[in-house]
Amino acid sequence: MLVRYSLSLCVLLGVTIVAAAEKPKLRTQQTVAQGSLAFEPEDPGSPVVELFENQTARQTLRVRNTGTAPIEIRRVDPAPPPGKATFEPRRLAPGEAGRLVLEKPMGETRGLQTVRFHVLSDDPVQPSVPVSFPVFVQSAYSPETAEVNFGYVGQTADATQSVIVESFETDRLSLESILEKPDWLALRAEPVEGHPQQLRLVTGLSAQTPLGEVARRVVLRTNVAVQPELVLSVRAHVHGQITATPPVLSFGAVEQGATVRRTIELRSVDASPLEVAALDHNAEAIDLKSAACGEGCVRLDAQLLTGQRRAVGNEFIGVSFKDRGERVRIPYSALIVKPGTQIRSLGTLDANTDVKIDDTLEKKP
């Protein structure tokens, strides 16, 4: 239940997460069919396949026909794809054993996972047999997820941010090429004095950086043979000639029926006159009013509509201004809960943090 709410809160708070992989049951590493096909790993001494990100997990199984009639293996399918299986021989006489090689490209999802395949045969007792093996995917880098976050920043501010990445899989870490990068981002790699296995990645935003919330992936190629691809996540919330305070509106958790208001102040950076031309928002979720608050300033009064219990996420207020091309986009979020619900903690969500909500909220109507 907790996971369900964590995920819904992630949506609510606009946080992108990768769902944790299901914990594998190590004891099922050897899967024995109820039918006539029996499987066992060719190397029983290696219970968990260990590999690096983007490598292919391989497991070789011996498959034996324990029945009294011949069995033909028709297909071996990864569940889910992608994946590849090769087996020989296709037809197994009673008592005969064959070899089944399972291969699964693991991608960037780290940690302990289970790789699953289905063996389809003409065995009348069990024509589809699930086989699985555990894998542990590790990163060759620290931090495993390198990230630079520029925060709320002006488009012409020439902002720079850096992050140090380390790898013990090479004696001297170096950048070989940039595989994927937005044009508006400058990037260079600098050695870290006294630490040859570290690299400082220095990033900078150009004046062409798009306005609003920006989240992009930068893919670099390093000299680390076991995992050449290094992914850098870049985040920024970019403003132009108009700033919003706060730039993101979070109402947090509020009770159904409660009156909740927030104020947003919009200002032109050069104090030139500012006049709202149009407000774009979901009128069923939020009520908005605007008023001048001095030279080059507009105040928005936002009232959350709390009639229904729900999670509000991925929504925004759009503001257009008279005689200005720039449009301001203010994301907002909220969690409207049943009155009396106790929320023990509602922390910042990241890969290491969970959100705990008591049972009264977890039991959905």
Binding site: Q138, T170, H195
Partner: protein, 116 residues
């Protein structure tokens, strides 16, 4: 991962040579193993590195937290000083340093090794 990696004892090595082949024994305990998958052991011949991982397979977490861990490094030479560090790795694949970099000098055959 909420685990805190706390090292209680490291490189408690009486290492030394068993017969002609010297070896270096690393011993450690982690007080809190919540979410831990296992341990990675790195070694260098200089304090500043470069470090290289010496356990081909991750040292798996033991179910008994009081049992502690032992790793024997047999790829060592008498009289040389090596620098070790141990990282924990969580079930989610996140590494976290468990120990600082600690030096260990391998004694000559039959003599106790020094841990500074």
């Amino acid at each position: 991962m909420t685990a805190r990696w706390i090292l209680l004892a490291l490189l408690a090595g009486n290492a030394a040579a068993a017969g002609p082949a010297p070896e270096s024994t690393l011993r450690w305990k982690a007080r809190d193993q919540t979410g831990t998958y296992g341990y990675l052991i790195y070694r260098s011949e200089a304090e500043a590195g470069p470090f290289r991982r010496i356990n081909a397979r991750i040292v798996p977490k033991r179910s008994d937290p009081d049992a502690g861990y032992v790793y024997v490094d047999r790829d060592v030479a008498p009289g040389k000083t090596y620098y070790y560090r141990i990282d924990g790795v969580s079930e989610a694949g996140i590494k976290k340093p468990l120990s600082p970099v600690l030096p260990k000098t391998i004694g000559p055959n039959g003599a106790p090794a020094k841990t500074r």
